[in-house]
């Protein structure tokens, strides 16, 4: 049985989809500039995930490591996961109090498609960090958390 995630005709069930993402995260397949994995290996629903973004070059974020919490509810991947920064960060699409990435202000979450993965979210966020409106924002000291 093939689990080609790209195949639009085949609807990959949630668990297979998440298992595939888990493997990609562990083995560093793909973009490779972001890292993610499951919080609790015993959770059969695979809901809680931790992601890490390494700050992009040529931005204030360079050299910093941002930790995020992703929560894939049972309607994932039909619905986007909720994404929240754990490390404090100053970005236009991130709520300053809670660290939640606000879907309205972040394209990939606003226009979610089920082919999108958590890796996509993380890499998009990383691109967002390097975007002109975020690139030079003054950042809270590293090592502080929401």
């Amino acid at each position: 049985m093939t689990l080609g995630s790209g195949g639009s005709s085949v609807v990959v069930p949630r668990n297979f989809r998440l298992l595939e993402e888990l493997e990609r995260g562990e083995k560093g397949i793909g973009d490779g500039t972001v890292s993610y994995g499951m919080d609790d290996g015993d959770d059969i629903y695979m809901r809680s995930w931790t992601g890490t973004i390494i700050g992009p070059h040529n931005s204030v974020h360079e050299g910093r490591i941002y930790q995020l919490k992703l929560f894939c509810d049972k309607d994932y991947p039909e619905k986007p996961p909720s994404v929240r920064f754990h490390s404090r960060v100053n970005m236009t699409c991130v709520n300053h109090e809670t660290g939640v990435v606000e879907p309205k202000k972040f394209g990939i979450l606003a226009n979610w498609q089920r082919e999108y993965t958590m890796e996509d979210i993380l890499t998009q966020l990383k691109k967002e960090m390097a975007a002109p409106h975020n690139r030079k924002l003054v950042q809270p000291p590293e090592g502080t958390y929401f």
Binding site: G32, H61, E62, G63, I65, P141, E142
Partner: protein, 553 residues
């Protein structure tokens, strides 16, 4: 100390057998290493250090979105064969982190070289190859604090002093050859920390990887420091920078390039300085606030000419946050005098006890001064002063008349002052007196003493800055005396200043970086960590010692 932990782990590592783990660096390169999953992250880092150019203590490993902690095993993170971990070079290694270095009063000193390079010759300082060279000698000497801020010291004619220094590189060499200074110089780590611990500076560096590279290359730093020590070499370097500049300028597009450089480096730099002026909280941690002489100077002037500022100073006896920028004894403009004095006077009377010992710290113990600088309140200051180890250290320095003489002799202004006040000289050279000075009980006495000195000082100051007296009459009488004494001691800088300005920042915020470092090292009790950091003024190294050994107190 993280470094130690790593070393220890490494010694007990046994990477025999094991599995293949892929490592992906942040620059995109990949490599694989053999390691045992039973080994700790710390020892795994030691293995990695052999395969990449990042020393173990600077490595940050990320797996499954989590940052791996040194004391955990790879297995505990669920790492398996053929899995990939991400490797990132972290800033300031946990070892010997003197993050409190930011409060080093030496910081704001734009030394002759940087005054020439950055202040007077704005463009020149940015000149391609010359940039690092001309900037870093400056930064380098900045960290001497004690010995060299003595020169600046807010003495009235310090423009002269500065000139003298620039014209007399031998003196510079002399400073550079002082053992304390050499010690500092030989430790590029400290200097990097000094720079990295400043958020604004870090931002600049973040944006300019080339700069970061310079910083991360100890040999560059050492080279520039070496140059600062050797007057000939320094002159040569200066000449080269100028030459390089004119070359760049004369080449097509060269000017634009310079402008771009100005925009990416100089502007944020200036921003950093203004920002510090705006936010009192940032003050202590921004020794670069006054690095750019003109900017800082102008700002200070504004504030010193603002009657409301002085007015409030004379009336308040309770601690108020100090909103003035750090004094910059080296400000290239003459405004520096005003600047230093203003800031001193703005120290609330209630805090008067603190600056004095901080000033003493300036006598050549930058580290110690830094510690004092970070003291959030009188209590912890007293605590420190009562700490046998500290007082012993102070005493050993202060009771060495030779050392004192050296410091005093090095500063022509101070010397001439002493010559005209034989009483003062006696005082300064009496180890007994100095020892007494360090005792908290005698701080009050000291105040009285300062008042008795006031008339002399007042006259002296009056002749040079008539305007100042008007602002600083009656209400600030004793602070004025204090001011002068502090100026004499030369430790004025951040020592006195940061005390009030820092006290209103909650420690967990103030020491956020250090806290997370401690967390990463495996100290999970936040309260305990904060206590340790507060007691050590944010020095992670000392905090760890304290947490482990839990000495005294």
């Amino acid at each position: 100390m993280g470094g130690d932990g790593v070393a220890d782990d490494a010694s007990e590592s046994n990477p025999a057998g094991g599995v293949t783990v892929h490592v992906r660096c942040s620059n995109g390169s990949k490599f694989s290493v053999q390691g045992s999953l039973e080994s700790t992250v710390g020892s795994f880092k030691a293995v990695l250090a052999q395969s990449c150019d990042i020393p173990a203590e600077q490595q940050r490993l990320i797996y499954k979105g989590r940052i791996l902690k040194d004391d955990q095993t790879l297995l505990s993170y669920g790492l398996e064969a053929d899995h990939t971990v991400h490797l990132v070079r972290g800033f300031a290694p946990a070892a010997s982190t003197n993050t409190a270095g930011a409060t080093n009063p030496g910081g704001p000193n734009a030394t002759p070289s940087s005054a020439r390079g950055v202040g007077l010759n704005e463009g020149g300082a940015l000149g391609g190859s010359g940039f690092g060279a001309s900037l870093f000698p400056g930064l380098g000497i900045n960290s001497l604090g004690g010995g060299d801020s003595l020169f600046g010291a807010g003495l009235p004619e310090f423009e002269q002093v500065q000139q003298q220094l620039t014209q007399n590189p031998n003196m510079m060499g002399e400073i550079m050859n002082m053992p304390v200074v050499q010690n500092l110089m030989n430790n590029p780590e400290i200097m990097r920390n000094l720079i990295m611990s400043n958020p604004q500076m870090r931002e600049i560096i973040d944006r300019n990887p080339e700069l970061a590279h310079i910083l991360n290359d100890p040999s560059t730093l050492r080279q520039t420091l070496e140059a600062a020590r050797n007057p000939e070499l320094m002159r040569e370097m200066m000449r080269n920078t100028d030459r390089a500049m004119s070359n760049i300028e004369s080449s097509p597009e060269g000017f634009n390039m310079l402008r771009r450089m100005y925009e990416t480096v100089q502007e944020p730099f200036l921003n950093a300085t203004t920002m510090a002026g705006d936010t009192g909280n940032n003050l202590g941690s921004n020794p670069f606030a006054a690095l750019l002489g003109t900017q800082g100077g102008a700002q200070a002037q504004d504030q010193s000419t603002n009657p409301s500022v002085t007015g409030s100073e004379t009336t308040t006896g309770s601690p108020v946050p100090n909103a003035n920028p750090l004094p910059n004894p080296w400000t290239s403009a003459g405004s520096g005098g005003a600047q230093t004095n203003t800031t001193t006077r703005s120290n609330p009377v209630g805090d008067a006890r603190q600056p004095a010992p901080a000033g003493l710290g300036g006598l050549g113990l930058p580290e110690f001064e830094r510690m004092l600088g970070g003291m959030p309140d009188t209590n912890s200051l007293n605590q420190i002063m009562q700490n046998p180890a500290i007082s012993q250290m102070m005493q050993s320095v202060l009771s060495n008349p030779q050392y004192m003489n050296q410091i005093l002799g090095l500063n022509p202004q101070l010397r001439s002052m002493l010559d005209s006040n034989s009483q003062l000289r006696e005082m300064m050279q009496n180890p007994e007196f100095l020892r007494q000075l360090t005792s908290p009980e005698t701080m009050q006495q000291l105040m009285t003493l300062q008042q008795s000195l006031l008339s002399q000082f007042g006259r002296q100051q009056g002749s040079q800055e008539p305007g100042q007296i008007g602002g600083g009459t009656a209400g600030t009488r004793n602070t004025m005396g204090l001011e002068m004494l502090m100026n004499m001691f030369g430790g004025l800088g951040a020592g006195g200043l940061t005390v009030p300005s820092r006290s209103d920042v909650p420690p967990e915020q103030l020491y956020a970086t250090q806290l997370s470092q401690l967390q990463e090292m495996g100290f999970f009790d936040t309260q305990e960590n904060i206590r340790a950091l507060t007691a050590t003024a944010g020095n992670v190294h000392a905090a760890v010692e304290r947490l482990l050994g839990n000495p005294g107190q």
